[in-house]
Symmetry: C2
DNA sequence: GTCAATTACGTTCTCCGTAAGGATG
DNA sequence: CATCCTTACGGAGAACGTAATTGAC
């Protein structure tokens, strides 16, 4: 199998353009002797004369011209991939695919995305809002560079970095007895009519153990979307517990949002990556930005103050 | 400027296909260590990690995959040009452009072309029938690989190889006094009404010096095509002297063709090439065939016997 | 412990530069 | 005689192979 280096291709192209060994050698930053040897070796390798040197003029043979055409195409390809890789290395170009839980994608992520797009305008962003399991699957399938989710640690092949811990808040109708409290303990929820979120979601999973020991009354309502909970609570059909970030779904005129004094009750938010898969520079930058971003403040009590 | 050799491209492709350093190294006929170093050096050169090796699995990074796509395109180009050049080197493929005088192109060349096409079916042939000057110009312009013409020696930048010498014959109407002779000396033409060919043609040029000393009567006719001479002679408007090969233009029923006993009167036929321009293998083979071909026999006295 | 890739190191060999050679205009 | 390419030769460095090392399963 023949071996051809891009140096030789460049030399041949220079030789064609300058029609002069000395000048071509100069352009290639080698001596004229070296270029002469390069051409000779190439000709030996392919078994054909490619250039006619009649001591005064440099002329390519028909075969040499065919070779040149290929050489130019190849060099264009190599130059392009080189620039392309440099761009990717410096995060000037590229694409980052992110799998995130819907609530995070909708409320915490947008300002970070905005900051990222400003800092790295050449990077395309793909944002998948999906269930926790799907998010991890996308990372494993390499369809997402990383996931932003409440799950992750302990999963084989995945690596999770804690970004922040999100507190839960209690939501009820303003007419509810607990509506006027500043803070509640979990025990205060005993006896309440509770609206559940479906189990497959991240929220229910983190609430389950904490709520199991409470004497909650079942409303018979189990819904999928937090927005539905908001509607139900607004119509005084029950109470619920949701992450701080979901508070904005609730209409403050009808719904009271009360902080929970329960340190054991929180939802961790991780950046989850595949072990052994180096992130692209662009994705690395995004994760760095995530890590430097603050945990969200309660959107309920301190509206319009998303960051410290 | 980065230097990438095809060996490295092959290695990366093998690594992608086999997902295993040891196997890929084997395919590339190097040790696994060498391949590891090759990949590392490539990554250093481009400044990016292209392959994730987690000790057990080989996975390409997004940038690595981009690189691979280019690598495959480039290798395809290089493999193709290699095959292409090998084919040209062995005259399996290619093209030969020939500039030849009309009379040679029409009468001497066809059987040679036929033999050549049989021996080298993959070679395309271009045949230009043109004036002597134009033939040499085409060679100089490299639009023709070589010329078959009566001119050539002494021209700067051109190289002429004598193929054969073609004799001239005397042509006249059957009613002409010289029609019954077996052989004529040049002096026998004195007093004849002579039909001239134009000076720019090869025939007139070779006749000029020999005929200058004869006392020919001018018919006032100077024509361009030998076929026209044939028509004029057939109508008894004069006599002429033409190369043996042109004899077939004349109608034997009306025109007598007489050999000339004049050793100094002949038209040399050369294969003319550009000095310092190596012929393609295909063209070389054609010239070889030309050189091994016999000079044409008189088509007049021995019809149907083109070769000895 | 085994397997697979990396690292270390010595050697080989390629490739380049210097300098001399040769041909051409 | 000057120019331009080729050839000869010697040295620097790259690349390869052997072998020891590391790390994962």
């Amino acid at each position: 199998m023949i071996d051809i280096s891009s140096r030789v291709l460049r030399a041949m192209i220079a030789l064609d353009e300058l029609r002069n060994f000395s000048l071509a050698a100069e352009r290639c930053h080698v001596t004229q002797s070296a270029l002469s040897q390069m051409v000779r070796k190439l000709e030996d390798d392919v078994g054909l004369q490619l250039v006619d040197r009649d001591r005064r003029h440099v002329q390519f043979t028909p075969e040499g011209l065919r070779f040149l055409a290929t050489a130019r195409r190849v060099m264009q390809e190599l130059d392009e991939i080189h620039i392309d890789l440099k761009d990717h290395a410096s995060a000037r170009r590229g694409r980052v695919n992110i799998a995130a839980l819907p609530s995070l994608a909708a409320h915490w992520l947008p300002p970070i995305v905005a900051a990222y797009k400003k800092a790295f305008p050449g990077i395309e962003l793909g944002l998948f809002d999906c269930t926790p399991l799907r998010a991890l699957e996308l990372v494993r399938l390499r369809q997402a560079d990383f996931a932003i989710t409440a799950d992750g640690p302990g999963r084989p092949g995945l690596e999770a970095r804690l970004l922040f811990r999100e507190n839960f808040v209690f939501v009820c109708h303003r007419s509810h007895p607990l509506a006027e409290k500043r803070r509640l303990a979990l025990a205060d929820l005993n006896g309440c009519h509770y609206i559940r979120l479906i189990r497959s979601g991240s929220i229910a999973q983190h609430l389950e153990s904490a709520l199991r020991n409470l004497a909650l009354r079942d409303t018979g309502l189990e819904v999928e979307q937090v927005a539905t909970v908001a509607g139900l609570v607004a119509n005084n059909l029950g109470v619920s517990v949701v992450p701080e970030m979901a508070a904005c779904y609730f209409d403050p005129k009808q719904v009271a949002i009360v902080e929970l004094d329960a340190t054991e009750l929180y939802r961790p938010v991780y950046a989850v990556t595949s072990v052994g898969k180096t992130l692209s520079k662009a994705a690395q930058e995004f994760v760095t930005l995530l890590e430097s971003s603050e945990a969200p403040q309660s959107a309920a009590r301190t509206p319009g103050k998303a960051k410290k």
